[in-house]
């Protein structure tokens, strides 16, 4: 099944985002070999040149490295992985705060709501995550 992509934005940026979250969520272990460009492109349902561009982007960021003879591997550098996790978390939180502010919630409201939900719904939140 092809990956979920939005055709109105550059595809390679979306591929970078998806691959990043696959890596930091542990679908690829540190040091694991990635599939070939062609296989990844077929899996995502995209053009191999586009996948190539996305992988080059990840390589620039140090998230993967190329061994000239044997292919591409996920970095074993925990610092980089942690940095990407923080970036992703930062992005999620920023989106959340923006939406909350658009609905008119103040800083105090948001804190209170967060605390309330974390205390009472922690159980269902973890259940939802498992379903994902």
């Amino acid at each position: 099944m092809a990956w979920k992509l939005n055709s109105s934005k550059p595809i390679y940026l979306q591929l970078i985002g998806i691959l990043k979250s696959q890596i930091v969520s542990g679908q690829y272990a540190p040091g694991e070999k990635l599939k070939s460009v062609r296989d990844l492109a077929a899996e995502a349902g995209v053009n191999p040149n586009t996948m190539q561009k996305a992988l080059a982007g990840l390589e620039d960021e140090g998230l993967i490295y190329t061994n000239r003879t044997s292919g591409r591997y996920v970095t074993e550098d925990e610092d980089i992985l942690q940095q990407i996790r923080s970036e992703n978390a930062g992005g999620l939180i920023l989106d959340f705060l923006k939406s909350m502010q658009n609905m008119g919630f103040t800083k105090d409201d948001i804190f209170q709501l967060l605390e309330h939900h974390m205390n009472t719904q922690i159980h269902s939140v973890s259940l939802n995550q498992e379903e994902d």
Binding site: S7, K9, P10, I11, Y12, G45, N47, T50
Partner: protein, 232 residues
């Protein structure tokens, strides 16, 4: 890099009607190019000139530096928009025929693809459904090691599930030194596999750019851009 296709001021008149009007472009090896345009925009005329089925009124098109002629059929694998097989042949006979006719035909590859799509190669082409006939054609065309694949409406009559399989077949079976020119109306289904988009309007090439650059510039999908450019 030496371009695979070089088109210089190509013009074709049918009587007084200009089907193609001063069209120029280059295609490099390793690209998947979408040839997009409404009915009557000149797509099929351009494709026929590349396959030496129509002669241009003026201008020229060169494939690997040579004008299309009988010999270029050895380098170009062409899927016309109509069924062109002898319907009384079985798929097996067809494969043997291709094996004889094209030195670059890879029978094992074709056989694997038929197996994946559960097409019984002992059946007569006439007995297959329209969609299955189209799949057979496309498999035969993509099982050659050509330099240029020209696909005129390759997925029109095929159901959406098989479409995905066929697009994957296109992605994973072509050689990175080769290019594919693909004409279609089903833009949203194929735009993710395109490198470049060519928009033809009334016989003129009005837009030729990489798909990613177009998305970035306009914040729209190729399908949305098409609908905007060709709004009736």
């Amino acid at each position: 890099m030496e371009p695979l296709v070089r088109c210089n001021h190509l013009t074709k008149y049918y009587g007084r009607f200009p089907a193609l009007n001063d069209v120029s472009f280059l295609i490099n090896p390793g690209r998947i190019v979408g040839l997009l345009g409404p009915n009557g925009s000149g797509k099929t005329t351009l494709i026929k000139i590349m396959n030496s089925l129509v002669t241009p009124t003026s201008g020229e098109i060169l494939i690997q530096g040579e004008k299309p002629d009988v010999r270029s059929k050895a380098r170009i694998s062409y899927l016309p928009d109509k069924l062109f097989f002898n319907e009384f042949m079985t798929v097996d006979e067809l494969m043997a025929y291709y094996e004889d006719f094209y030195v670059d035909f890879d029978g094992d590859r074709a056989f694997e693809l038929f197996k994946d799509l559960h097409i019984d190669t002992s059946s007569r082409i006439k007995s297959l459904s329209k969609g299955t006939q189209e799949k057979v054609q496309l498999i035969m065309i993509m099982s050659r090691e050509a330099k240029l694949y020209i696909l005129d409406e390759p997925i029109g009559g095929v159901d959406p599930a098989a479409r995905d399989y066929i697009l994957n077949t296109i992605i994973s079976n072509y050689n990175p030194e080769a290019s594919i020119i693909l004409s279609t109306h089903l833009i949203s289904d194929i735009e993710r596999i395109l490198d470049d988009c060519m928009f033809l309007k009334n016989g003129r090439l009005i837009l030729y750019n990489s798909a990613e650059a177009l998305r970035q510039e306009r914040g729209m999908s190729i399908d949305e851009i098409f609908r905007e450019v060709f709004r009736c």
